[in-house]
Each structure stands twice: as C-alpha cells, then as structure tokens.
C-alpha cells in the first residue's frame, strides 16, 4: 500500500512556475484519464488551484504506485515541459508525510491566507472530479474523506476561520455591516472597475445588495463589470448625482489624484441633508480626500484602516495555529493507524490460516498413529482443542505486537519481519 504526492505551492514557487504546471478543469479530466492509461492500477487525485498544483497517487500494491519521478515525468510530458526544468522545484512526499500535507492543505493551514475557506471546496472538487473519472479507490477515498473531516474539525474547534483577513471581506463583513442592517435597499456606488472593487462588490452582492451603480472613466469597463455582476453601469459625468444618492461608496480606481475632494464634496453634502455615507477608499493612492471624514455623517475608511484589522485578524489566526496543528497530528496518527491495520489485517489472516493448516495436518498425522484411539470423537476433539490452543498461544504475542503497534513508522518493519520469520508469501 503506497501513497505518493508531488506538487508545488506558493511557499516555494512563483506564480509563473505554477502557471506552467496548472491544470484547467477540462485539463484535469484529461490528465486523469491519461493517468488511468499510463498507470492503470493507480488511484489518483489532481488538485490544481492558483496557489498549488498537486497530484496524489496511491495503490494497494507498492509496485503499482508510480514513483515521484514517474509522476514528475507525467506532468512534464502532459504540459510539454522539460523534466529538468521542473523537477527541482517540485516537492515529493509519500506515506504519512503525504497524508499530513493533504490534511494540512484541506484545513487551510498551508494556504497563502491561513484559514481561507475556499481551499476545502477546491479539495472536495478535485476529489469529486477524480471520482467522476473513476480514478479513485479505497486509499484515495479514505484519505480525502478523512481530509475533509479534519478540515471541518479544525473549522469548528478553532477560531482560525472566523477572522477575516482579506481587505474586501473585512470591508464588508466587519465594517459595512456595522453601518447597515440590510443592503437590498441601499444605493451602492462602485467607482472603478478593477479587481479590488469587483471583489468587494461580490461580497456586497452576497449580502443581497441590489441597487449597485458602477462608474468608471472607461465606460466600457464599467459595462463589462456590470454584466459580470448585478450592477448598472453609469456614465462618468453622473458622478456627482450618484454621490448625492449613495449610501455606500466603494472606490478603487487607478487615479493618481483624489477624484473626490473636500471642496467638490461641499455642494454634494448640502444636497445629501446629512444622510450618513459610508465610504471605502480601497485605492492606492487614495481616491478620496481624507478631509471628507470631517463632514457630518461621512464615515471614510481607507485601505490602511482596513489593513490594521486584517493584520490583527491574521495574528489572531496565527494564535490558533497550535490548536489546529494538534488536531492535524491527532488525525494523521489515527488515519495511519487505521491504514496500518488495513495493511496488516490480510497478513495476520494469512499467518493464522497457515498455522491452522499445519495444525490440521499434524492432528491428522497424530490421529492416524493413534489407531482406534484416534477414532474416539472425544479424544479427537480434545486433541484439536489442545493443538489449537498451542497455536494461538504461540501466535498471540507477535500478532498482538503487530496490531497494537501504533507507530506506523515502525509498522512495515514488524510486518516485514513477520513475513520473513513465517515465510509468508503474497
């Protein structure tokens, strides 16, 4: 029984390298199908996200499982890359180390943003795709199902997932929610059509924001963003009117000078009748003049203000790290013990069968020698029981040592010794 993993992540490789090895969803299906052809007895799961590319391969018989080098060759071959070009940057793990890594990854302890929830769904998706492609088997089933269980345990028993650490999520969940009870009746103005604005908008849409106006100097980009989301693109010259109507402004343009100054906001403020306005200025350099914060009813937050909360939350997550790691250690140990029992089980059965065969043969020989005495059912039974007890008593200590051996590192050694001592064959 063998489990092998090769892969790379954001820890040791740059994005350019990961891009070369990345598998799009359709490529995952294709690669898994190809693996089935190249390594027919191998179970496989392929996890490809923007931060990592990992292949998990497993087989009941060690010789059926591809080695790390074979997997590297496979990846290089699939992407048409030179093996030497990628081999040094790819990490390979097997056995318990591979399981530990899988559990750590699923629990989001290996993520760029520790505790982010997305990785668990990505692991699940990778497992589902392998299932659909019939690439999974007993080992991948048990290891991936255990990984998802472990991730949920870490989620519920620690606070590592509770604190938000990305600027858009903190902006919406930790700040906007302190201002507004509901978002469906609010006028939300998104200035700029960049990534930060879009991500923040997604969080607001998740909160049921419905009246979203998107404004951008390049109107086409505003239209594109509006089409991707549920917003409405508005021409740039309507900015002042939108500032009067808005309850919440998310500004994230690439402008080098503030687009809303205190002077320009003066007349807007008069038209707003002091209606509270929550502004998230997520641009660097800032889009909004900091003096706007002095206006009555205006609450202005810049990226620095939010970053402080993100950093604090990140530290809070780090404090939870040992607790999460403890859970991983416990679960890896439990999984490996179960796995080891699964490995030793058939051999124990085989040894018992071999001993019983010897016992039966010897009993038969003895009964033949005993002549008429051996025909007495009572004596036959007594001899059978006695020999059985001798066999059991002889086998009990080694088998018990094998069963109770909870250190899988030592497991194969004991099992190998048992195989050699009793000359057990596959």
């Amino acid at each position: 029984m063998k489990l092998q993993m090769i892969g790379c992540s954001h820890h040791h490789t740059d994005v350019a390298f990961r891009e070369k090895l990345a598998f799009q969803p359709n490529q995952v299906v294709e690669a898994l199908a190809k693996m089935r052809t190249v390594f027919p007895q191998t179970e496989a799961v392929l996890l490809s996200t923007c931060n990592r590319v990992e292949i998990y391969a497993a087989a009941e018989n060690e010789e059926d499982c591809p080695s790390a080098q074979q997997l590297i060759n496979f990846v290089a071959n699939y992407h048409g890359l030179d093996v030497a070009e990628i081999a040094t940057d790819l990490r390979s793990l097997d056995g318990e180390d591979a399981i530990h890594h899988l559990f750590t990854t699923a629990a989001s302890l290996d993520s760029m943003v520790i505790g982010e929830a997305q990785i668990l769904s990505q692991v699940k998706q990778a497992y589902d795709m392998a299932n659909e492609g019939e690439n999974t088997g007993p080992l991948t089933h048990s290891s991936f199902q255990a990984a998802m269980r472990v991730a949920k345990r870490v989620q519920t028993e620690t606070e590592i997932h509770r604190k938000r650490v990305s600027i858009p999520s903190v902006a919406v969940a930790d700040y906007a929610s302190q201002f507004f009870e509901r978002f469906d009746d609010k006028v939300i103005l998104v200035i700029g059509a960049g990534e930060m604005g879009e991500e923040t908008l997604q969080y607001l849409i998740d909160k049921n924001a419905q009246d979203v106006r998107i404004i951008n100097r390049n109107h086409q980009r505003a239209i594109d963003l509006a089409q991707r989301t549920t917003g409405k693109a508005v021409e740039w010259d309507k900015l002042n009117d939108l500032l009067v109507e808005a309850d919440l402004i998310v500004s994230a343009t690439g402008a080098t000078e503030p687009i809303i100054t205190a002077e320009s906001f003066q007349t807007i403020s008069e038209r707003r009748f002091q209606k509270p306005l929550f502004i998230l200025d997520l641009a660097v350099p800032r889009d909004i003049d900091p003096k706007l914060a002095d206006f009555l009813g205006v609450y202005l937050y810049s990226i620095d203000d939010l970053q402080q909360v993100c950093d604090r939350n990140r530290k809070a997550r780090e404090r939870e790290w040992p607790k999460a790691e403890q859970i991983i250690e416990e679960e890896v140990s439990r999984f490996m013990t179960d796995l080891y029992r699964r490995v030793t089980g058939p051999w124990i059965g085989r040894l018992k069968q071999q001993a019983n065969e010897i016992k039966a043969a010897e009993l038969e020989r003895l009964l033949n020698k005993l002549g008429d005495l051996g025909d007495d059912p009572k004596i036959r039974k007594e001899l059978d029981v006695t020999l059985g007890r001798v066999v059991n008593k002889l086998l009990h200590p080694p088998l018990e040592s094998l069963r109770e051996d909870v250190n899988p590192e030592e497991g194969p050694g004991l099992l190998d010794a048992l195989k050699k001592l009793f000359q057990l064959k596959d």
């Binding site: 302190q178 201002f179 507004f180 002091q274 203000d305």
Partner: protein, 296 residues
C-alpha cells in the same frame, strides 16, 4: 396561582429578579474581556427568569392590593412596571441580536429603575376617585408606556452615539463589544421616540382633562401653576416641537441629531418625573388608583 402548587411563588421577592438582572449584567460586561459561547444563553436564561419572577411578583402584589384596596397604585409599583416593560424589550432585542452587547446599556437602567422603586417605596399610595377613573387610568398607563418607550429611545440613542463615535474614530471592531448597526439603532431610536411622544402626550392631555373635570366638579384639582403641571406642559411642548422638527427638517432625521434630541427628551422627562416624585403628584390627583374601579 394561589393553589398549594404555586405557594413557592409567594416567596418571590424583589431581590430575586434584581439579582437575576444583576448577574446577567455582570455576564454582559464579561463579554468585553473573554469569549464564552454559552454565555449568551445564560444571560438570556437569567433575564427570562428575572422577567418571570418580576411578573409573578407584580401579579401577586396586584392580587393582594386588589383584595385589600387599591392595586398597583404607588410609585413603587409604577417604577417596577416600567422596569418590567424595559426588561421585556431588552429580552426581545437580546434574542434577536444575540451577538450584540445591548445588555450593557439596558440592564443598568433596569436595575436603576428597581433601585428608584426602592427609594419611593415608602411614598403614599395614590388615593381612589370614582369621578376621574377613566382619565386617571389613561393618564397612568399612557405615562407608564410612554416612559418605557422613552427609556428604550434613550438607550438606543446612547448606543447610536457610542457606535457612531467608535466608527468615526475608526476604532477597530471588538468581538466582545459589538453593537447593532447604526441603521438599526437609528430606526429604533426614531420609532421609540415617536411612540414615546405620542404616549406621553396622551398621558399629559388626559391628565389635563382629569384635572379640568375635578376642578369644575368639586374643586379638588391641582392648581394650574403647580410646578409639576408647568414642567409637564413644557415637556409636552418640547416633545411636539421635536416631532415636528424631525418631520419638517430633513437633517434632523439623520443619525446623531435624532440621538441628541432623544437624550434631551429623556433628560426632560426625568426632570418632570423627579418633580412628580418630589411633589407626590399622583397621591394628590388620585392617579392610577382608578385601575381598581375599571377592573372591578
């Protein structure tokens, strides 16, 4: 409730529910210092137990007073009823918004009202008057509910100002001190102030009618120059002005202004009530004692 099974209820005293509210308040304060997932359940449990004991206590007192004379006819009873109304409001809000630290603002005022009740316990009960019972009941109940609504408006206003201050100063969110959203607080503040104004106005107008009736019938009304009547009149004018101002002047509806107006209104009401306590107003006017006539 008078049967043998309910005999334990007769042992409920003011200290039972005051103690429940006090422990709930301590637990609410402890939110600031450490996290404990089951705490909110304990707080709610204690508050609901307190409300139950509070209700039973007032009900038994009502029955006792009813058989012996005038029920719920003292400032002691009045303060306890207002505190019960505020406690029920708190429990409803705490269930709906169990992640928020609203108890820190509500529970001290509930305990303060109970304390005030203890201070005025020895004051004379209101006297009976058959001629003014309907207006007296209207006067008493409207003022009771109006005061309760004003206390809720005041608490919402204070929470609004604290929350707005924290947000304006960009203080980072504290997990142990989460307040409802500004929008919710503003709505709660406005609505409570609106109801309080209506109820207090109804209470004061019914008080005027009651006094006019008494003055014309048997000349036992309070003089119109009485400090309580004058201060009540000023309070009514203030509340009506605030309501009109809020309706006509748009910025007055927004955030801090309404909170400040509520705070001022509450202080005004507290002043009038203290005048009333000092003047033992209701015992002169037969006040809520008329409840008995209505209920009998």
């Amino acid at each position: 409730m008078n049967g043998p099974d309910a005999s334990w209820m007769t042992k409920i005293s003011l200290s039972c529910f005051a103690f429940s509210y006090a422990i709930a308040m301590i637990l609410e304060i402890s939110r600031l210092f450490f996290r404990a997932p089951v705490r909110i359940l304990i707080i709610l449990g204690l508050t609901i137990a307190g409300i139950f004991a509070h209700t039973v206590y007032l009900w038994l007192k009502f029955q006792k007073d009813f058989s012996g004379g005038t029920p719920m006819s003292s400032w002691y009873d009045w303060c306890l009823m207002v505190s019960l109304a505020v406690a029920i409001t708190y429990a409803i809000i705490a269930i709906k918004k169990n992640e928020n630290s609203v108890g820190i603002f509500f529970l001290p005022l509930i305990l303060l009202l109970i304390l005030v009740a203890l201070f005025v316990k020895d004051q004379e009960a209101f006297t009976q008057s058959e001629a003014t019972n309907v207006w007296a009941v209207t006067h008493g109940i409207s003022l009771l509910l109006g005061t309760s609504a004003m206390i809720v408006a005041f608490i919402a206003g204070v929470m609004y100002l604290v929350h707005a201050f924290r947000l304006k100063k960009k203080l980072p969110p504290r997990s142990g001190f989460r307040l409802p959203s500004l929008e919710w607080l503003q709505q709660c503040n406005r609505q409570s102030l609106f109801y309080a104004t209506g109820l207090i106005a109804a209470g004061l107008v019914s008080g005027v009618i009651m006094n006019v009736l008494k003055s014309t019938e048997n000349q036992t009304g309070i003089p119109w120059t009485d400090s309580v009547i004058i201060s009540s009149g000023v309070l009514l004018v203030w509340l009506v002005t605030v309501t009109v101002f809020e309706a006509v002047y748009k910025p007055a509806r927004q955030g801090r202004k309404i909170a400040y107006l509520t705070l001022a209104s509450f202080v005004f009401l507290a002043l009038v009530l203290s005048f009333v306590f000092m003047a033992e107003h209701a015992s002169q006017t037969d006040g809520v004692s008329a409840l008995r006539e209505v209920l009998s």
